[in-house]
Symmetry: none
Subunit: 181 residues, 4 copies
DNA sequence: AATGAATGAGTGTTCATTCAT
DNA sequence: TATGAATGAACACTCATTCAT
């Protein structure tokens, strides 16, 4: 495509302002392109969404790798969950789309998880091996849950207390404190 | 309204079959009522949704009270989370609507939490008091999170491992097992 | 509907100018009405088409009755075929739609034939009884064929010779001329 | 054109599967060719259609010649009408296109008749000469009519009775039976 | 000559919402 | 109060056709 970059840029902005269900027409107009052009290159809306977020998604995936190398598993997982939260929180409507059941978004979860799960699974496995992370939890489930919790809570959410994400991780990570009284 | 009951019953069925974003027309037709009638009594869609689920929501809230009376806080919380999951899982699209940002659903979270939070807060407070539940967590946050996790995970979700809801609660509840080796 | 008449009138004109596949928008605009109004009253396009032509269709059907009463079967059939031809020839695209297979028109043939066939069948039966019309031909088949032949032939069609409709009828009617040399 | 054969073959298949209004893209893709290439060689869709069916059309035309040589005119005409019916019935949407009025198909009838009419006219003339076929009927009219009747009738069409095509021919052919009581 | 990316008009269809009766 | 007819904005999606390469 001649204007790949323009389309992705336009879509990114549109997604940011209107959410991932922004009208195609809108995106096309921003990109100075006909709607057909977008449909040709991204037959499914989910194709466009993934393409738009692909770079950042890859970054998030690589982050998992990097953290796994630098930190012990439990710590890596905690840090990475922030990375994921940052990603999800930024994409308006992405989380909803991910879990919506709307046929337009149907391939989304698989693609999303396909990119992230393998890297995260490594961390989980390492943690299970050294006993710092509870075993038996699949990366897919965990990412799924983390992405759900990443969206804003009630308005006064920031107010106080630990984030639910942290609580979830606390339930997953075998803290030394709890086993060594 | 003359036909309050008919409308609520119709809406309940429509929500069950088509999700909470079922066409108003559809609901009105099932109730044998004009759409205008519904709009008069429930100006916002969220008003209707809450009205429809009010009874069950109250039941769920009372369940919290009952469990708090019968069980120690931690146990009560675990049991109640199942109650909530049952509620959320049954209402097609309710969870999505709850967090969607769609202006049509905007008042939904507040009303939803307004009914449930006080009762749950009691459990949390009791647990914090006797040291079995980590303090500093607001009921609103927790309910918010639990309702998000109640929706289906990836397709192979049922497969194995603990549910993310359980993991979250594990992070919240100070299990005797973990402190008494 | 408040504007039934306006819609039917508008549709009739639109059909005349653009054919029975005229854009709904177009029809609505001519009628000074929203598209939704048309969809509400005529969910299927074929419903609108039949409604528009209903009066003339009924007239054509009654014509069959009248002719059957006034003329011997063979003669009545010939005269009625002209009536049908007049009807079909006036409705741009009607004949095509009738046989198109397009799902939008799917119910059309049945409705069309449902109105006309019974009356014509009476003529055929009477003719078969008195030996002036070949038996074994169903009214539905015949109408189907006549409506197909009624559309314009090649441009120079009017030029000369008997119409194909007449030839078809000649094959159907046991003319006295042919048996009495 | 380099790939004339591939295009015609692809178009033929596309026409068979999707009808003569198959998307150009589709045809081009099947042929492994750019759409532009098709447009260059067949500026009008009707050009492509005729080109695709040309060979079979010629066969049908030659069939007329062959039958005229082997059989008496009336018999030849009957046999040929079957040949034509076979051709028309096989080409999805061809009959509709032939009579549709859609500008895209506008030149189609003339080209179609240009190929077939001369041969059929010979049969008609011969029949008129020896008194077995009613005179005054143009081949164009007749072919036009036959091609219209070749499409399926109502669903229960096959059920019973003579085909309308046969009836038409009965009206055209001066059967010995009818003149020799 | 061939390619195929790009264009964008065009259409069916759905529904929230209003308001005359 | 209740009704439900009417409105019309909104959107997805398809393709014929053009034209720069």
């Amino acid at each position: 495509m001649r204007n790949t970059e323009a389309v992705l840029e336009a879509a990114k902005k549109a997604f940011a302002e209107l959410g991932v269900d922004a009208p195609m027409r809108d995106i096309a107009a921003r990109a100075g392109v006909g709607v057909g052009t977008i449909y040709r290159n991204y037959p499914q809306r989910s194709d466009l969404i993934i393409a738009v977020f692909r770079r950042e998604l890859d970054t998030t995936a690589e982050e998992a790798e990097r953290l796994a190398a630098e930190y012990p598993p439990a710590e890596a997982l905690r840090l990475w969950s922030e990375s994921l939260a940052r990603f999800v929180a930024t994409k308006r409507g992405f989380a909803s789309a991910l879990h919506s059941g709307d046929p337009a978004y149907q391939p989304l979860p698989a693609q999303f998880l396909g990119i992230l799960a393998p890297k995260v699974q490594s961390i989980l496995d390492a943690g299970a091996a050294d006993g710092t992370i509870r075993g038996g939890v699949s990366a897919e489930h965990l990412i799924h849950a983390l992405s759900r919790l990443a969206d804003d809570g009630p308005d006064d959410a920031a107010a106080a207390g630990p984030s639910m994400t942290d609580v979830l991780l606390d339930g997953l990570i075998v803290s030394p404190r709890s086993i060594e009284p």
